[in-house]
Amino acid sequence: MTLLLQAVDLYCERDERPLVENLNLRVESGHIYQVEGPNGSGKTTLLRVLCGISSRFRGELLWRGESMSTQRNSYLSELLYIGHSSGVKTALTPRENLVWHAAITGFFGNVAEEIVSEALDRVGLYGFEDVPCYALSAGQQRRVSLARLFIGNMSLWILDEPFTAIDKQGVAELEIWIGEFAERGGAVILTTHHELGINHLVQHVRLGD
């Protein structure tokens, strides 16, 4: 059990409406943190603050016990964030999309090709590697961005509504991947309105009460 990310006395607001107040969060390896709350309660805002895209907060973020401002590079090399918008270019094929993601994660050349093929295979897009993404269904496009879970060796996943648009079997698979990742010593922060089937590892973070 290692302490990864820590938020101390976090306060965020949007349009002068406080969303998160006095939040203290300790993200430890081997756990899954489910952020819950009604629509508009600031779940996405919180995730964007935690992953460092948004600077509109007060309080402090620590990565492995040290201030985020000094640890940002090491944090980014261990963080995987999948947001609302998928980061998938519809004009490109799943393989081309992921080869780019692999390159900016630090994989290139033949290694990247192998990793990408393996990742596409795992998310069930075998046979669709070279079809342009605009010809894929919404669920398949979601799977293209979820394939990034298998690119790189991260220790923290931050997933914003990862279950959107995927089918029942996909939901079950994704739950297994998340569970396995946590058991291997990773940590997951996610938002979803759906009850996870891997309850023993899940801790709940309530917003908007």
Binding site: T2, G87, N153, S155, R184, G185
Partner: protein, 248 residues
């Protein structure tokens, strides 16, 4: 930290390449971003042809509107060619980061361990290869149409090549600043047009000198200096603007 990584690596399936530690390669990330942008443009050829069509159409309208008098046209040609090339660059720079902003790629670029400086430089280079470079290749044809004396053609092409690259870098700053705004078009022009002016002045002046048969290396050297400044400094501004636009 090492303990955790190695434990994850051990747990990864044998032969699973994804379990290997990545080694950040700036060059590979640069080339991957460049390749992706060029590939996107190739798949959506319509978008990329727009500025070229604009350049071609506007330049070919001038002989029709001011009359086919060769003396008058050759006098106006350097100015017309440069102004229209500049407007074509301005029009195309608006969309530079739009797609990446809408589909979330900019967030991924910010969260990548590769520095944003490298990635935006690659994007800007891709933009130049898709606008400035073809404009330069097309310019001799339009020079002929506008009766530019043949002594000015080499100067036109070199000044456009160097000048439009500077314009791409300047345009990228404005595009990154306004990408978060729904209607940033006019604001973009207001921000970047003043910065375009010096490039325009020296670009036109080099072509005019060349058509008069005098030396134009001085003006080209100044354009080169602008470009050196733009390549080294503007990615800092572009990267900072991207962060500001995504952080909302």
């Amino acid at each position: 930290m090492d303990d955790l990584n190695s434990s994850i690596a051990r747990a990864a399936q044998p032969g699973n390449k994804a379990g290997e530690q990545p080694s950040i390669s700036v060059k590979a990330a640069f080339l991957a971003t460049l390749r992706r942008d060029l590939l996107m443009a190739y798949r959506r050829r319509g978008d990329f042809i727009n500025p070229l069509a604009f350049f071609l159409i506007v330049c070919s309208l001038f002989p029709l509107s001011v009359g086919p008098n060769p003396q008058l046209l050759s006098l106006l040609a350097p100015g017309i060619l440069w102004v229209v090339a500049l407007l074509a660059c301005l029009l195309s720079s608006d969309t530079m980061f739009r797609n990446d902003f809408d589909d979330g790629s900019l967030e991924q670029m910010i969260l990548s361990p590769v520095s944003l400086y490298v990635q935006v430089t690659a994007k800007t280079l891709a933009h130049w290869l898709l606008t400035g470079f073809p404009l330069m290749l097309l310019s001799p044809l339009l020079a002929l149409l506008l009766q530019l004396p043949s002594t000015g053609v080499i100067a036109l092409m070199t000044s456009l090549a160097v000048g439009t690259a500077t314009l791409s870098f300047i345009g990228a700053i404005g595009a990154a600043l306004t990408v978060g705004l729904r209607k940033g078009g006019l604001l973009l022009s207001l921000i970047i047009l003043p910065l375009y002016i010096p490039v325009l002045i020296f670009g036109v002046s080099s072509v005019q000198s060349a058509t008069n048969g005098s030396d134009y290396m001085g003006q080209l050297a100044i354009l080169g200096a602008f470009l050196a400044l733009a390549i080294t400094l503007s990615p800092l501004a572009i990267a900072a603007s991207v962060r500001i636009s995504v952080d909302n």
